[in-house]
């Protein structure tokens, strides 16, 4: 086992909201050719048939309003470039502008969905991606919205849901938190939500009467400082703008359109710094920054099919998908940014994805409970075949720890 794994005591997952890989990290390919990003020639047709190329014009706010469609039928159109169902259609990632036009009814605004950030706008995410490890092939689990995708991060399945419903509370597969708490009741797993006014999106676990696994972000910062971080931590950003206890401003930091992307950058930096500034914690923690889904924003990589030998075991009806066609959870959603941070990871690590048929590895949100379960619990049977077969990400850690002065800090 690599020394990085021998020393690992904590896994921290920070899940942001609704941005695609190309939108956030695609521009890095110019400087780092191994990153499967944008050449600048990727395009979509608009509703007049004109070719709309990707452009480096993304702004922190006020550009993606209305919120781009990311529910199942909309994502289906984005992937296949047509609303027609049935055999013979080909995934081509050509329906993004068309879908956004159906919301904006404004030809120029519909082009905004092709905009991406340049690295200078996102110094935190792009620094982490280039200083540690970036995944070329991390996909959302479902071509659909937030709740069903986040369910995969907590349960390794969405229990057949492709939408925003959470009413799978009585299902028998335990969340990763339940698994951890059952194995080690003290300090084994926590969901840190931002504050009471933002709360959590993982309400199923609240319904399951497990408030002991919840804490606020202030507690995360305190736990990092005191060295009391649990083995597994899942962090939720702030989901809305609201007044603080002292009357000050608290901005949404989730980066969900149309929330300010720069505030999310600050939140990622704060979370990283909390770990980075405790030397013991820094050496014994792997931190994954990942986005729940693409939020309707353009990405050029066609989502791959799931391995039919390891099914999720559910099928959503045609009514549930909203397309009239059932969905057997046999195809992944659109690619999202994912970065793994640890001093045991060499600078500039790029994990290949679909662009490398020989060495590429496909990750999705079921990889999160799969990794945490494998590392902390070993064999655990009561989960889907899909999760058991999901790629795990800790083998990216190596034998060599980078010296302190070789690892960045944010100010």
């Amino acid at each position: 086992m690599p020394a990085g794994l021998d020393n690992l005591k904590h896994i921290v997952v920070l899940m942001m909201e609704n941005r695609s890989f190309d939108h956030m990290l695609g521009a890095l390919m110019k400087q780092y050719p191994k990153i499967n990003g944008l050449t600048g020639n990727e395009s979509n047709p608009d509703t007049n048939g004109a070719i709309v190329k990707v452009q480096p014009n993304a702004q922190f706010q006020s550009q993606l309003d209305p919120d781009p469609d990311h529910h199942f039928p909309g994502v289906d159109l984005q992937i296949f470039g047509t609303t027609q169902q049935g055999a013979g259609r080909v995934a081509n990632m050509q329906g993004f502008v068309q879908d956004y036009f159906s919301q904006t009814n404004d030809l120029n605004r519909s082009h905004n969905i092709m905009y991406y950030f340049t690295p200078d706008k996102l110094p935190v995410l792009t620094t982490l991606a280039t200083e540690f490890a970036v995944f070329n092939g991390w996909f959302s689990s479902i071509p659909g919205p937030t709740i069903c995708n986040r369910a995969f991060a907590h349960y390794g399945t969405s229990f057949g849901q492709v939408g925003m419903d959470i009413f799978y509370v009585l299902d028998k597969i335990p969340s990763i938190y339940e698994r951890m708490v059952q194995a080690n009741p003290s300090q084994s797993a926590k969901i840190y939500y931002y504050d009471q006014q933002s709360s959590t999106m993982e309400i199923v676990n609240l319904l399951k009467n497990e408030p002991q696994i919840f804490a606020t972000y202030d507690q995360f910062i305190a736990d990092c400082k005191s060295g009391d971080l649990p083995e597994y931590s899942f962090i939720e950003p702030c989901y809305n703008d609201h007044a603080g206890a002292d009357g000050g401003q608290i901005l949404a930091s989730d980066q969900h359109p149309d929330h300010n992307v720069q505030e999310g950058e600050n939140f990622i930096a704060n979370t990283f710094n909390a770990i980075r500034t405790n030397p013991d914690l820094w050496q014994s923690t792997a931190m994954l920054v990942v986005y729940d889904e693409h939020g309707g924003i353009y990405d050029h990589v066609v989502p791959p099919n799931c391995d039919p030998n390891f099914p999720d075991g559910h099928t959503a009806t045609g009514d549930a998908t909203g397309t009239g066609t059932p969905f057997a959870f046999d195809r992944l959603g659109i690619r999202v940014p994912a970065v793994l941070v640890s001093p045991w990871i060499p600078r500039g690590t790029v994990i290949p994805g679909t662009e490398d048929p020989a060495k590429g590895r496909i990750f999705e949100h079921a990889s999160i409970p799969a990794t945490v379960t494998q590392f902390f619990l070993g064999n655990f049977d009561n989960r889907t075949a899909r999760e058991k077969n999901a790629q795990t990400f800790l083998n990216i850690l190596t034998d060599n720890m980078r010296p302190d002065d070789d690892c960045v800090v944010f100010n």
């Binding site: 909201e17 709740i147 925003m164 009741p185 401003q249 720069q262 600050n266 070789d406 960045v408 100010n411």
Partner: protein, 86 residues
């Protein structure tokens, strides 16, 4: 040598807008929280409906106390019992 420091620009304070219309995600969150509250109320009313005059033994009382305490102080935990040698 000190580590490389990356400067992170602060967010424009004018970005704060609590009057922004709530999106689908936030509205779904309120619906889910409301559902949670209904289930919680159901749990409270079930315990409230118990007749405490029917509690006779220490086991009855401890079960009732546990139910109420878990509502009033949900962070409490149950301790493992002493194992008796067979």
């Amino acid at each position: 040598m000190p580590p490389k420091v990356v400067k992170v620009p602060k967010t424009d304070p004018k970005a704060f807008n609590p009057n922004r219309p709530a999106g689908k995600l936030l509205l779904a969150q309120t619906q889910h929280l409301r559902e949670g509250l209904i289930r919680h109320l159901h749990e409270v009313s079930t315990v409230l409906a118990m007749d405490i005059r029917s509690l006779k033994t220490e086991g009855d009382v401890s079960d009732y106390v546990r139910k109420v305490t878990s509502i009033l102080h949900p962070y409490g935990t149950r301790r493992a019992g002493r194992k008796v040698a067979s």
